[in-house]
């Protein structure tokens, strides 16, 4: 937490170039307190690039990222993770040849080096139980279904006790029943006072869950505000939602 005890992520004028392509064109964004911020935008808008910059997997070409009063864009990903930013990936990245329990304990020991193995296992079991994967604890992660691997990734994330969680397409390719579990997970994490950045193409979920919506298009933020406001923003409709009538219809039906 920052000095005044409130979580704060500040992205200052971040630019990211890949050769001649400018993926982010001076993005500035501040998240203060335990908000749930939806981050949407068409494919190639720069959402994952921004996520990778926040979590240290990419370095910005220019600009700065600050977290709780500390500049983090110069840090390595594991330092950022230890400072309280956790994430999932668009394509699930569980440690496939390790068991579910080993997947859980590995980050747990990083975060809680002095916790006993029994305590860590207890903590892991509680999280896995909530996400309904506790019965799979001795299975190899690679043998799980795609949806179960998503749940494992979400569970693993909580072993780090992050203050800010970035969820990249958590509902994509997941069975509706498991989607419900993920939905409940997000609500529970919110109740614990953690901030969340939710990236999703599932309009219904993102409009229902988000308190604030940020829209990226061609590497620029074109709208930022309450979902109701953003939904009616002409720039958003034109640049993003308006392009796909079916998706626009989904959006309307969400309300």
């Amino acid at each position: 937490m920052s000095r005044n005890g409130v979580l704060e992520l500040e992205i200052r004028n971040v630019v990211k170039n890949f050769g001649g392509l400018q993926a982010l064109k001076g993005v500035s964004l501040t998240i203060r307190g335990s908000q749930l911020v939806g981050l949407i935008g068409p494919n190639g808008a720069g959402k994952t690039t921004l996520t990778n910059i926040i979590t240290g997997l990419l370095k910005p070409t220019s600009g700065e990222v600050w977290f709780n009063g500390e500049r983090i864009d110069t840090l390595r990903p594991y330092h950022i993770a230890r400072r309280g930013i956790g994430r999932t990936f668009q394509v699930t990245r569980a440690f496939r040849r390790m068991t579910v329990l080993e997947n859980m304990l590995t980050p747990g020991i990083v975060k809680h080096p002095y916790m006993s193995r029994a305590e860590l296992e207890k903590k892991a079991m509680e999280i896995m139980k909530f996400l309904t994967i506790d019965h799979l604890r001795f299975e190899r992660a690679g043998s799980l279904s795609g949806g179960q691997q998503k749940l494992l990734e979400l569970a693993r994330l909580l072993m780090l006790d992050p203050d800010l969680i970035i969820l990249d397409e958590p509902f994509a390719g997941v069975h509706p029943k498991l989607q419900r579990t993920i939905y409940n997970y997000i609500k529970r994490v919110r109740e614990q006072g953690k901030a969340i950045i939710l990236i999703s193409h599932d309009m219904e979920s993102i409009f229902t869950l988000s308190e604030r919506l940020v829209v990226l298009n061609f590497g620029e933020i074109i709208a930022d505000g309450p979902p109701e406001e953003v939904k009616n923003d002409p720039a958003v409709i034109e640049a993003y939602l308006g392009r796909d009538e079916e998706e626009e219809e989904d959006l309307r039906q969400a309300y």
């Binding site: 979590t55 990903p77 993770a81 040849r97 590995t106 990083v110 693993r156």
Partner: protein, 320 residues
């Protein structure tokens, strides 16, 4: 069947002896190949200096036992492990870490050149220090004399029935087995082992859950070098030691990891045993005993070529 064995290798006890000797040396091959596998899995590079760690391990034991005759052989072996671990750790930090940090333009070529460079440096440093003449370490293990009928020992040899097995090789194989067991326990039962596995499976995913991949790189390279060093340390009492003794040993490790499947721990264990037995049988059953030793490496390479033809990914072709 017995006729076939008699035609090929003389007699059944002789064949059994060849197999057992092959397994004894195969365990040590496995140990060395496991080191190379570990380095490949975690750092994603092939270390061309692996054989030189083997050579250093042997020379450390020789030096310790030569200058401090009262020191037990096991202590010398332990020191060899420590020295090779430290060389590996320092080298990785200084020369391989820039690659992992993205400070090198062509990392694959860089890794080949820099590990080759280390191989030459170590060879010539040892040539300068130890000279070109073969060094021999006296056997540092003796059996107590036991006679249980089928199992009988003299100070230097163990007899299984009529099959004699040299004590120095048995001692080397036992140390290698203990090291292998400890290594497997470390990899699969400890947090650091899980962290190494996590980095080898997905470097970025490991980093975002708080694991430092750079430290894991150092650890993997140091442990890999240490395993090769241990193999050299236990074999120095079996073979004569020269500064380029690591070159064929290194080649055998490459054969084993491709045979077993690049990056596969079970592959390197099984591959080592197969290579040991094939070499032993090939040499022992070669029609002309005068030329048999000269063809020793060929037998392994023939099996290697056959496996590549039939199953190019190797026997257990996947990452650890």
């Amino acid at each position: 069947m017995e006729w076939l064995i008699a035609e090929a290798c003389g007699s059944f006890p002789y064949l059994l002896r060849l197999i057992l000797e092959g397994l004894l040396i195969g365990v040590i091959y496995s140990l060395m190949a496991l080191g190379l596998t570990l380095i490949f899995s975690v750092l994603n590079i092939v270390s061309f200096s692996h054989g030189e760690f083997y050579m250093i391990g042997g020379y450390v034991v020789y030096t310790v036992l030569h200058h401090f005759k009262q020191v037990p052989g096991l202590v010398a072996v332990f020191l060899a492990a420590v020295v090779t671990f430290l060389i590996g750790a320092v080298f990785e930090r200084l020369f391989l870490q820039p690659m992992a940090k993205g400070q090198v333009d062509r990392p694959n070529e860089y890794a080949i050149l820099v590990t080759f460079g280390l191989a030459f440096v170590l060879q010539f440093v040892m040539l300068g220090l130890m000279g070109p003449f073969p060094k021999k370490v006296p056997r540092f293990f003796s059996f107590p004399e036991i006679d249980l009928g089928f199992l009988r020992t003299t100070r230097t040899t163990l007899f299984l029935g009529k099959i004699p097995l040299p004590g120095s090789r048995i001692f080397a194989a036992i140390i290698a087995l203990i090291a292998l067991g400890a290594m497997l326990y470390f990899m699969y039962r400890t947090w650091t082992g899980w962290a190494l596995q996590a980095v080898s499976q997905d470097r970025n995913a490991a980093a975002v859950v708080g694991i430092n991949p750079l430290n894991m790189n150092t650890l993997a390279f140091a442990l890999g070098g240490m395993l090769a060093g241990l193999a050299g340390a236990v074999l120095v009492s079996v073979f004569s030691w020269v500064p380029w003794v690591g070159v064929p040993a290194s080649a055998k490790s490459f054969v084993i990891i491709v045979l077993g499947g690049m990056g596969s721990i079970p592959g390197s264990l099984v591959g080592g045993l197969i290579l040991g037995v094939v070499e032993s049988l090939g040499t022992g059953c070669w029609p002309n005993p005068a030329t048999a030793q000269a063809y020793r490496d060929v037998f392994g390479l023939v099996i290697f070529a056959l496996v590549l033809l039939v199953k190019p990914t190797g026997l257990f072709g996947r990452k650890l």
